[in-house]
Amino acid sequence: MPQILPPSANLAVRLALVGALGAGPALLWLFSSLGGSSWVTRAGEAPVQPVPFSHKLHVGGLGLDCRHCHWWVETGAVAGMPSAKTCMHCHAQVFSDAAPLEPVRSAFDGDRSIEWVRVADLPDFVSFDHSIHVRKGFACVTCHGRVDLMPLTEQPVAMTMRWCLDCHRNPERYAWPVEQVFRMDWQPEGDPVALGRRLVREYGLRRPTDCSFCHR
């Protein structure tokens, strides 16, 4: 009886077997890391908007407060988008004939809305309320990043459930004093951990991780 397979087959078969055993965990690893990667979540990617609006110009350069345009944020679930009228308040005079602002002008003239592309889009099965977060000391930049540095707006971190839970479990790491939450560049003075603990006590922050807290 001749040899059917060469000696190298032994190594090949053993490696294939180990590979097959390791394939499951490897696939899990692949899926879990792909699922949270920016390739899937599109974190850090600025979608193409009808108007190339620059937060860097309006917030970083003009010092507009977040609430100048997103004025529902303190009382509503969604922060709200400014109407074309809000834009036209200034742009009726400043850059009043700039070509990129054409969608704003036509929306204003035609009483339509500018169709912005949602940058921070939570899934529909999550209930999120901006007002409670900003009132309890969670700053805009904590989730949306330094928009005052963004020429085009992007969502800097993937808004995965793990990311939500990180803060829901450890609010002391992320809480700011309520009067600072709309600041872009606030830095805690002294021990941030001690401050966080104090704020958690002061604002009575809970650590809500029940399913139905967000998935209502």
């Binding site: 009886m1 001749p2 087959a9 879990s32 699922g35």
Partner: protein
């Protein structure tokens, strides 16, 4: 492909093709209904409030139950030394593996988005969550995973020597390579046989509690809930007995036509059928006891809901199903008290077919009839299976039949090692292929013997002569050979114990860490750290760990997989899997001398002596 797997008469072949054709059509039906399901979603099934668990769960429980009979015959009867199992255990094991495959299909599909099944696994996901280990559905996932793995391992392990036979008989080069890879390099050495025997024994010991746990866990899916008709402590034993009952019935349904067609009458005799029928009757009586217990609990327990649920089975809108269940599962098996029914294959077949259908109805009764009228009369409803429900049911049966037909056709349906050598060996191989390259040191000298007794005697004498690097190859395990060889004892149990311990601790740690420390979620008002909820998964992890430990120890003890080995070059070694016995003395032995050793082998009664190229 090897034609030697199963000698099929022409008539049988025609039947086989007919059956295969029907099964193939059903597989296409399954593929079609799955495609529609994945494309359009679960709405194509009849499930809706209040019956959220329809055919998918019925079929799941039915198939997983059928799998259990295979384990019963292969493992439990092995441990009980019931020799009649030898004729049917391969078929039963094959049935187990295929049935688990069918069963696992249904919970996956029932999830709605089966491509996300891996969300059930505990891994650090982007949701920051862990499986809810307090839930029987998660226990189920672990139980089926472990059961599938152990069954596959058990099946493959017992198939291994037969795959070597197929390799040695294969005529085409491609077939030889395929079977060579499949056999992992099995060469029938004394140590491999010893390891094989021990591994089968130990895995049987492992599979026995496993099979009890799996269907207990399946029953927990129901029993842990509060639905009247489900919420009962009788469920685990009642489910396990029902599983064995239905599985044995299906095994009989498979065996009877097969033995008639293929002429296995001398291997699977009337007394085999008789034994199976007796076990079927016993399991059926336990199931009948379960029905009686349910009635008693409902009547004696005093819960009006429970009482109503039971009465509803026999008098509600599904009463025909209820009475059919009694007729098929309780009345029909009474025939098996009589030898005339047990020993006549087609009578037994009829009873078994009735039981198979009856057990499906039992699951229908448990799932649908309990759900359609629960506590709130305003939410009562009627479950109407849709076309796609039926198509999936038929398709899964076709899928099962399709796989069984293929496996029966191309793999040995009987353990070949137990069969007496009758047929002539395949055509001899060409001699040019085994020319020894001059200058390479040979691996050793091999003597060929015709009986096991000669081999044992030769080994004994070689030991006396002072040879230490010996190996012996045989087509079947030879009693006393390992002892004569003086090889160190094969020990698999320490590795299994270590693996089991690691699995248990790992599983327990995982559950405590993920469900108590990292993500404590209050579900059903249970405490996060209620350890009782962690018992099933800990057990399944222990079994899985032990099986993996056994696998590692087997690989270490036998050196498998090793598809290339010098002994394969021995002329005529293909008969080592059939009717010849080989003794190998390696050149590495201190006392090896090519002339004197050759002389010794010839004196010991070797028919031929060959040099083994290095």
């Amino acid at each position: 492909m090897a034609k030697g797997a199963l000698a099929m008469p022409d008539a049988a072949r025609r039947y086989w093709w007919a059956a295969f054709g029907i099964a193939s059509v059903l597989v296409l039906v399954l593929a079609g209904s799955l495609a529609v399901l994945l494309w359009r979603g679960l709405g194509i099934w009849g499930i809706n409030a209040p019956v959220g668990w329809g055919f998918a769960i019925i079929n799941f429980v039915w198939w997983i139950g059928i799998a259990h009979a295979g384990t019963l015959i292969s493992a439990i009867l092995l441990l009980l030394r019931q020799n009649w199992r030898s004729g049917v255990h391969r078929l039963a094991e094959t049935m187990t593996v295929v049935a688990i495959g069918c069963a696992a299909l249904f919970p996956l599909l029932h999830m709605g988005r089966p491509w996300l099944f891996f969300w059930l696994l505990p891994y650090p996901n982007s949701m920051g969550t862990w499986p809810q280990f307090h839930s029987p559905l998660v226990w189920d996932f672990f139980a089926i995973l472990t059961y599938g793995f152990v069954s596959l391992l058990f099946w493959y392990l017992s198939l291994l020597p037969d795959l070597a036979v197929l390799r040695d008989q294969a005529r085409s080069r491609r077939g030889r390579i395929a079977w060579c890879l499949a056999a992992l390099g099995w060469r029938g050495s004394a140590r491999q046989w010893e390891t094989h025997r021990m591994a089968c024994w130990l895995l049987a010991g492992l599979a026995t509690p496993l099979v009890v746990s799996v269907h207990s866990v399946v029953s927990f899916d129901f029993a842990v809930s509060l639905v009247p008709g489900w919420h009962s402590t009788i469920f685990p034993p009642y489910f396990v007995a029902g599983a064995i009952f239905s599985g044995l019935a299906l095994l009989i349904v498979l065996v009877v036509p097969l033995r008639a067609l293929v002429g296995l009458g001398e291997r699977i005799t009337e007394s085999h059928l008789d034994a199976m029928a007796k076990v079927l009757l016993a399991a059926g009586l336990v199931v009948t006891y379960g029905y009686a217990a349910e009635l008693f609990f409902a009547g004696y327990g005093g819960s009006p809901y429970e009482r109503y649920a039971l009465a509803n089975r026999l008098s509600g809108p599904y009463a025909p199903a209820g009475w059919a269940l009694v007729a098929l599962n309780v009345v029909a098996i009474q025939a098996l008290w009589f030898g005339a029914a047990r020993r006549r294959p087609w009578r037994l077949f009829t009873v078994a077919l009735a039981v198979s259908a009856g057990m499906w109805l039992e699951r229908f009764l448990i799932v649908v009839v309990s759900l359609h009228r629960d506590y709130l009369p305003a939410a009562w409803g009627i479950y109407r299976p849709t076309f796609w429900d039926w198509a999936t049911l038929a398709g899964a049966a076709g899928w099962f039949a399709w796989l069984m037909l293929l496996l029966v056709r191309f793999l040995p349906v009987m353990p070949v090692a137990a069969a007496s050598p009758q047929r002539e060996p395949a055509a001899g191989s060409d001699d040019t292929a085994r020319a020894v390259h001059p200058g390479t040191r040979p691996y050793g000298l091999a003597g060929v013997f015709t009986t096991a007794g000669q081999l044992v005697e030769a080994v004994r004498r070689a030991r006396v002569e002072g040879y230490r690097r010996l190996d012996a190859f045989s087509p079947a395990p030879v009693e006393g050979l390992p002892a004569v060889l003086g090889a160190p004892r094969v020990r698999l149990s320490p590795a299994m114990f270590a693996g089991g311990l690691a699995g248990a601790f790992g599983g327990l740690l995982l559950q405590f860490w993920s469900n108590v420390i990292d993500l404590p979620l209050a579900v059903g008002g249970k405490a996060a750290a209620s350890w009782q909820a962690f018992v099933p998964v800990t057990f399944e992890c222990a079994v899985l760990g032990a099986a993996l430990g056994a696998l590692a120890a087997m690989a270490a003890a036998t050196g498998l997989p090793e598809p290339h080995h010098p002994v394969f070059a021995i002329p005529g070694f293909e008969r080592a899997s059939r009717d010849r016995f080989f003794l190998l003395i390696e050149t590495a032995d201190e006392r090896f001398d090519s002339l004197r050793t050759r002389d010794f082998l010839e004196r010991s009664g070797a028919q031929e002596v060959h040099e083994v190229p290095g």
